[in-house]
């Protein structure tokens, strides 16, 4: 490798290596975010939106994506600068009573979402083998536990997410199916429904619940500590948050486009998981079936690992226990016991035989209904200089957080009534 003359090669080499390391870190971060973005919630809600309302609900995915970009960026910035996670600071700044509320609400909702993700992996396995999905619940639960018990944070974060890039097949499919792009673009602007308005708004709320998942930004915050981010990572964090969540949202939009092109013209509704392979089969033939199985299985497994860890992190951080996925389980027995118990509970919920698709839609609406509890603290923490020093939110970021909070309160009010009247 040659260097410009007149400069010390050692210095340049160091700068070059540092730059390369930064680029690699950004690329890996974006890949991780993209690969880890899609899960049963985003697949199901996007497919239902496309089947029932063609391209009309693309705006909801874009709005959810925009919200999650801001929340993830702020969660990463907070942890990189303060060396603390968001739940840790919530307990300290808001006291135990608020933390207890957050813990109970987020714990219950995340447990349902986790059970839905376990169900998603089971669906993939049933589609692949023909063996009923209930038979798979315990083995899937065991695999999730084993990966966390034996793996490190890097394996879980990067390994599963890199495999999750198989979900890009939805984007390839959406391009190959050649949709009417002018209509796709029109769907990016919010519009009122021409029919079945209650169901329209219910799907919109579910999409927002699937996109603005608290586990995503809480996990990201803990991940920043696991990856030992420092103040110097603030810029990288911003690029990863914007890049990763934007590309992730594009995959959800691709699912919606495929459903709009395949299901909507036939008047088909997404009512059963056996319909999901039809999203890719018309484009890729029989390979599409296997691509769907791989995408669903890997995406849901990745999400299940992240949610399990996030719930264990939340518990350990809130109560001040030792926690790190990079430590051997024996060094943090309570943390290990916490994720073991969480997996057992989620597997038991999956074993009840609740239809995974129904559970998914229900838990996404419930996520939307409980968003204020986890979003309100952002406004305070991101303006507290004892944590974020000179990296406080500017007026624009604060305005966006206030808008997201307002949206979260609206969702909290309308989610349950819409679930009752528009859920089917």
């Amino acid at each position: 490798m040659s260097f410009p003359t007149g400069l010390k090669p050692g210095v340049n080499e160091t700068t070059f290596n540092a730059e390369m390391k930064k680029i690699l870190e950004i690329a890996l971060g974006i890949v991780t975010s993209v690969g880890g973005f899609l899960e049963i919630g985003s697949i199901t809600t996007a497919a239902q939106a496309g089947a029932d309302f063609s391209f009309q609900l693309i705006w909801a995915i874009l709005l959810g994506g925009l919200c999650i970009i801001f929340l993830v960026e702020q969660a990463g910035r907070f942890s990189a600068v303060s060396g603390r996670t968001i739940p840790d600071a919530i307990r300290e700044r808001f006291g135990f009573n608020y933390f207890a509320l957050l813990y109970v609400v987020l714990g219950l909702v995340s447990l349902l979402v986790l059970a839905a993700e376990v169900g998603g992996v089971c669906i993939a396995l049933e589609l692949a083998t023909g063996i009923g999905l209930l038979w798979w619940a315990v083995p899937v639960g065991f695999v999730i536990w084993l990966v966390i018990f034996k793996g490190t944070f890097g394996i879980i974060e990067k390994g599963v997410s890199v495999l999750g890039l198989v979900t890009l097949c939805f984007v390839v499919g959406a391009i190959l199916i050649n949709p009417p792009w002018s209509q796709v673009l029109r769907g990016a602007a919010p519009s009122l429904p021409q029919h079945n308005s209650v169901h329209y708004w219910f799907i919109a709320v579910s999409i927002l619940g699937a996109s603005i998942s608290p586990y995503l930004y809480f996990f990201y915050s803990s991940g920043a500590i696991e990856d030992e981010w420092r103040e110097g990572h603030v810029g990288i964090n911003r690029i990863i948050a914007i890049g990763g969540m934007t590309f992730g949202s594009l995959i959800s939009i691709a699912v919606l486009i495929l459903a709009a092109m395949i299901f909507a013209p036939q008047g088909m509704k997404v009512e059963h998981y056996t319909q999901l392979p039809m999203l890719l089969e018309p484009v890729f033939g029989h390979k599409g079936f296997w691509l769907l199985v791989a995408s669903l299985g890997i995406a849901c497994l990745g999400a299940a690992l992240e949610i399990t860890l996030e719930l264990a992190y939340l518990t350990a951080q809130g109560f001040g226990w030792n926690w790190s996925e990079n430590q051997p389980p024996i060094a943090e027995a309570r943390f290990s016991a916490a994720y073991t118990a969480i997996i057992i509970l989620a597997t038991l919920v999956a074993l009840t035989g609740i239809d995974p698709l129904t559970l998914t839609i229900f838990s996404m609406a419930l996520t939307a209904a409980t968003l204020p509890v986890s979003i309100v603290p952002f406004l305070f923490l991101m303006n507290d200089s004892t944590y974020v020093r000179s990296y406080k939110n500017g007026w624009f970021s604060n305005a966006v957080v206030i808008l997201i909070m307002a949206l979260a309160f609206v969702l909290a009010i309308v989610a349950i009534p819409l679930q009752i009247f528009g859920g089917s």
Binding site: N322, I330, A337
Partner: protein, 117 residues
């Protein structure tokens, strides 16, 4: 020092930088004719339940008694503490205190018995 802001709910570490919980409660001593004095900080689920509701705390204590589990919070004299910006450091060995009782029990009886732990 603002006790609630600077000390309550802060992470608690022992002299070996081991996390041993959080400051779940603060005990003040009142003596006639003297200003209140900070005597101890407390670590334990019972105190957390008390903070949510006195009834919940009592219910937790009754349940613990039924199963012969010690429910009273562990107290650390305030003189043994150094209240820092991010953590409260206690001049104790956490593994020799009741604060890590459950951690050690789980390590010995459950997690430690799993191959590869």
């Amino acid at each position: 020092m603002d006790l609630v802001r600077d000390c309550l709910d802060k992470p608690l570490e022992d002299r070996n930088h081991r996390r041993m919980g959080r400051v779940d409660g603060i005990v003040l001593e009142l003596e006639e004719g003297r200003p209140p004095r900070v005597a101890y900080v407390e670590v334990g689920v019972k105190r957390l339940m008390d903070r949510l509701s006195g009834r919940l705390g009592n219910l937790f204590a009754r349940l613990a008694r039924r199963y012969h589990i010690e429910s009273e919070p562990y107290r650390i004299p305030f003189g043994k503490l150094h209240v820092g910006l991010n953590t409260v450091k206690a001049d104790v060995d956490a593994e020799k205190t009741p604060a890590l009782e459950w951690e050690l029990w789980l390590r010995k009886k459950v997690i430690g018995r799993i191959p590869g732990a």
